[in-house]
Symmetry: C2
Subunit: 333 residues, 2 copies
């Protein structure tokens, strides 16, 4: 029995292409002492992992040619040499893009048997938690505030908007197609959306934010961040969650105009964060999110592809905005 894997064939130059990956079979891994063997059920493809392929990271395990592509997955334990995890347990871990993986038990989190494991790739996983802490802790919205979010139909953005509605805010989403915009308004309750590809985007954004913007959750950086800066109200907060506009390139743009001039004039705060700074609060966040999912206040959009072989094309497409919600690869094993 072999282990199918997607390897990085070479780090991308310029835009990522599916040909930068290679599907291979390698020997089946074996769980060593204190390890578990996981059979991957599904993994998420997230834009942030594109940044890791820019080649500046140099730590052990950093993405490099010849390595298995990294990613967060959920799976079932099929062998265990650790007393705390049993065969049959479902877990979330950095499985990577492969059918099987053996990992030290410390790097594995057992999923509550009452929960749908797929939720751990979306609203209760990295994306949902990023939305939760970025909006609520960094953005700190008050009821009645206007919250703007970019990549609004993306895995983080569509949850930011719904969480802001739960907190009594007006929500304006920026996305890359009118279809996505309609979905966000009709199905998820966004108040207004703006298509950043429209020629009159800046004017449309102005019209969509007649009271200005109090909290902006930035998933893109670049031009959209620049446009948001000019709509921020005095005392506004910008939560820097991600920089998707600058991932799929060798030549990042200069920073937005208005930094730092508008920050001074309008007393704005921009704050970046990484999710793992909040690790000790994951449990409380997951409880809140699970409550909203079960009450129907929060809808998780997923966008599934099937089979390891489809993952590279799924990633390329995601980076050009082809996804709606969280892109998940389900393994057909």
């Amino acid at each position: 029995m072999e282990n199918q894997q997607v390897l990085i064939d070479r780090l991308p130059t310029g835009k990522l292409r599916a040909e930068d990956y290679k599907l291979t079979d390698s020997p089946m891994p074996v769980a060593g002492p204190n390890q578990v063997l996981i059979k991957t059920l599904a993994f998420a493809i997230t834009a942030g992992t594109r940044a890791g392929l820019q080649g500046s990271a140099s730590y052990a395990g950093a993405p490099a040619a010849g390595r298995v592509m990294n990613g967060t997955g959920v799976g079932e334990v099929v062998a265990s040499n650790a007393p705390s995890v049993a065969v049959g347990d479902r877990v979330i871990a950095a499985t990577g893009w492969q059918q099987y993986v053996a990992m030290d038990v410390e790097h594995v989190t057992v999923i509550d048997p009452g929960h749908d494991p797929i939720h751990y790739l979306g609203p209760m996983g990295v994306n949902g938690l990023t939305a939760y802490f970025g909006l609520l802790d960094v953005g700190n919205p008050e009821p009645g505030n206007t919250v703007m979010v970019s990549a609004a139909a993306g895995s983080v953005g569509h949850m930011v908007g719904q969480m802001a509605k739960i907190h009594g805010c007006q929500v304006v989403g920026v996305c890359g197609s009118n279809d996505k915009g309609r979905l966000l308004v009709d199905r998820l309750g966004f108040d207004r959306t703006v298509n950043y590809k429209d020629a009159n985007y800046r004017q449309s954004l102005k019209e969509a934010t007649p009271d200005g913007v109090d909290v902006y959750c930035d998933n893109t950086g670049g031009m959209i961040l620049g446009s948001a800066l000019f709509r921020m109200n005095v005392g506004g907060r910008i939560a820097c969650c991600g920089v998707v506009s600058q991932y799929d390139t060798d030549t990042p743009e200069p920073g937005p105009k208005g930094v730092p001039g508008l920050l001074v004039n309008n007393r704005l705060t921009m704050r970046g964060f990484l999710l793992f700074d909040y690790a000790e609060h994951y449990a409380e966040a997951r409880n809140a999110i699970y409550g909203w999912l079960t009450s129907g206040q929060l809808t998780s959009l997923q966008d599934e592809v099937v089979g390891l072989a489809a993952a590279p094309e799924g990633f390329v497409d995601l980076l050009s905005g082809g996804n709606v919600g969280t892109r998940i690869v389900r393994l057909d094993q």
Copy 2:
């Protein structure tokens, strides 16, 4: 008797020139009901007022051709129609660049008779208060932190550095000449300084901040802000106090690279502020600053020119970095 004034002859295009101003004599003002007549003793020239000449402000009283140039001054009351202010009181007010001004009493602050009024143009005025709140509230340094400050020999910067030393920090100043750098180290106790005009500035900054930077007080924006972003430690704070690099121009630069990417990766906070947000805390700040001045922990550098006619050239020179400390124009009346 006439009132000598410096008028804005026209709003500058490109760099400010002394010829953009005009010295005139106009009729002596008279204090109306509830007004005081102030004889100006001295006023400060501050870089921030250059931004007001960029012509985007449109409120009543905004700088415009034909108006008296705006600025904060100290003076002596020579006539009063208000019970709360007596002839002979010394006051701080938005006198502008002129010998005499009549103002509503609400816009005038009486200076404690025990204090040197000139201090109200420096350490106890706009500059000192900006340093105080920018460093201590926005920057929030802890003992042992490395604090970096730009325009370090300027009116705000030289006080930021000394206040950071009082708080037990390592202080690295960025300034535009080696002479200024030596002065900051030898006379004011800065740990290290770097000259941003040196060809190897970035390497020198790296060597001057071996432990990275925890708090950066940005008075410049532009290239120096960009260089600071790459030296910030995880969790670092950037206090956006001013943007002097972008005032004396019609064509502001794009924002710094690294925004928002480095903010995310290193969990940085950038926060802009305006001094008047802190108005209710001025008294406590002035008490603290007065204490440091009298104990000798804080030295106020001043750089005086004499006579209204010298003010325009003094402003042009300030914008190219010619000053050390607070530039004050003393009137020779």
